[in-house]
Amino acid sequence: GTPSDRALGEGRSEQEVYEELRALAARNVSTEDEISFLGAGMYDHYVPALVDAIIERSEFLTPYTPYQPEISQGGLQAMFEYQTAISELTGLPVSNASVYEGPSAVGAAGYVAKLTNARGRFVISRGVHPHSRETLRTLARGWGMDVIEAPLRDGVTDLGELDTDVSAVIVQQPNFLGAVEDLTALATAAREVGALTICACDPLPLGLLKSPGECRVDIAVGEGQTLGNRLDFGGPSFGFFAATDALLRRMPGRIAGETRDVEGKRGYVLTLQTREQHIRREKATSNICTAQALNALAGVIYLSWLGRHGIVELAELMLKRTAYARTRLTSIPGVTLLHERPVVREFALALDAPAGRVIERCLADGVNPGYPLGRDYPEYEDGLLVAITELRTRADIDRLADTLAAAVAADRDDVEMAA
């Protein structure tokens, strides 16, 4: 059909479009409409009001990529500050100004590994987010590279034997099951065969966890949504990308750098552009152009709001509430831990009832108990992944416990009756 299709309509007034979009929104169950323990890659954290107030300013919201630095110092300095914060958080010296989001950041890191050592294989932990693993596979096909999965044992990665055809070892911290990995050991194993170590990490737990840099990881990437960005049903958010000095000139994307103007005044520009598509074209280290500047800005504002001590306090609060939830939930008959590794904000349970039915029951009761692991892990068919952010209070956790207990019990009764 032509654009005069019903798909396009004839045009409507502002109030009518507002009402239409509000009606659509009303048919979604948001984290304000239920008590949600969903995580699995994106988390319901509180976004402070000042973040929205600042990023809604048209001076940040509406400009293009800062091609004219003299009239873009606001955005460029914010990028520089963002890079500093990410580099501080990851313990790695260089950070770019953002990539699209988490899983594609893992792919981008893989491409840097390819450019670096031109080897044939990636070894990726099964503890890496399923979306990241699938994204890497999609891209690796284009690079003619193989992707091998390293299994999880007792909740953490077992790299097994590595050889010198391994381009990079890719892990996640904490991993998809919420378990804290021994990053140093994994990075050492990779280094021994001359492979790069790529770690996808969750930025907030880094307030407590050893930084990837300390663990001698080469590239740290991750999903930035938890840093002051809305859930937005999955995007837009941003991906962060930090690496060792050695990889600086293979980094993808924009990088802001400090310089001086003709009068010696400090200023900022997009730098090292010879890596980029608009200069190097087919020889570029990446094809990325439009990235996620506004979301990354939200990220650095959020990190400034948290501050040096706040990020630790927030991580500790989650750690303690999560520990409470872990104990509380595993005291339910028929609910056991899927692994016993240390966790920060998220943990995995095994239900001895069909997860799907149990979840349905909880939803009916206004509680979204978490993510069913069975979707991505046949081996954890009735596994449940539960996330505890600072927005979930003890009362919420107790409510979850009661609801989950009732749901599991009810399901067992059904089974007995059926028998």
Partner: protein, 525 residues
Amino acid sequence: MRPLDASRPLDASHSDGASRRVALAANGFRAADDGLTIFERSKPGRRAFVAPELDVPDAPLDELLPAEFRRAEAPRLPEVAEPEIVRHYNRLSKRNFDLDTGFYPLGSCTMKHNPKLHERVAALPGHGKLHPLQHPARAQGALELMWNLQQALASIAGLPHVSLQPSAGSHGELAGVLLTRAYHEDRGETRTKVLTPDTAHGTNPATVTMGGYEIVKVGTDASGNVDLDDLRAKADRDVACLMLTNPSTLGLFETGIEEIAGIVHGVGATLYYDGANLNAIMGICRPGDMGFDIVHFNLHKTFTQPHGGGGPGAGPIAVSDRIEPYLPRPQVVRLDSDNGDRPRFDLDYDRPKSIGRLRGFQGNYGVFVRSYAYIRSLGAPGLREVSEIAVLNANYLLAKLRAAGVAKYLPAAYDRICMHEFVLSGAPMKRELEIRTLDLAKRMLDFGVHPPTVYFPLVVDEALMVEPTETETKETLDRFAEIVAEILREAREDPEVARNAPYTTPVRRLDEAAAARRPVIRQAL
């Protein structure tokens, strides 16, 4: 034009030397404070964050997280309170030029007005606070919106199938190249090359390499079209795809498009449409009808997602039937009910031939909300009007510049009716006035307009690429023409003026070479 003496802010300050100096001293105070980074404003003990109550039993850290996993010291994030954070970023914002402040004719970027309604609807909790893994039955509004947007984009592209997953144009391109690969491989063919015109945007060749293909450039003929002979010569059975922008990056409609499609399809290759310039043709013609197999959209250009200083965006793709089996996973599907209830929407993961995911979750939904609101506001007639006025504005401005005598120094690269944008060459200006396109651009900064895109496309010497968009008024276009004429006039008098511009910006010309030579890309803490 207003008399210039209605202006002179500093010049008219009473002429005594002392006062001039101290007037500047005052700026000194201001600049010294404005220049600080958020890290430089940090003071131990300050904070904005207050932790919520610890409402669970406390426990020693070591029990919950063994010391070997914990970091030695807290990350040195800034220590600042809310008032300083707000002031800091508020002041930074004032050092940005933005679309809501002035004209922004940045070629190839479609800097059209971003309606404020879009921010309002995207922020509704039902959209903004929806978890990406929410059960589809509990996200019906979101899935229906995505479905409707897919239909709308399909009908604009004239291609039946859409994936919203790619995060930006270049991500859409990558999807397109990987789809092409999957398509050929599925047919047992391995092809090695992808063709792009020498006018192509940098992301095209970069994408080709990332997709594992070798790039082959096709030339441009005297009239600005793809050189058909060169294309014929290079289009062989090793060619997997031709990536094209139409209108081209020269702002010209590719008149030979049907012949091009014939040649490309003749060798069994796919034809890829870089949709960055879609703003020129909506409702007038459709890439699908031109023979394109794969199209990407830049929702942050044509469909008004604000650019955010470098993103976010979204780069959905539309494809033909033969490409459909390979589309990324998951796809939004509609399940119509026979008993007349409203249809249900779901996510379909079961796509055996799919290239798989390109990213997490379902794409940049927040961007979809804005673009959908835009499409619903305009409807089919409005979208057609958008393209008509975009083209009209560009041709008006081109004519106006000619009338202002600019053509002598900045002739159109190709003397044809342009589409939504046009490319001028600054070569004569450089020769005769001894200022470069860069100088012209920098001088524009003093006049309060954003310069056009410069030095792209590469095939035009000293290129200046101007895209006014449909949301600008005649007064704004007239004013821009006057400004260009004025800058050329002053350059005739004294080229130094432009060469040393800008003068009135927060910082003046910055040393980019030094920045790259000794990169300082983080603050030393």
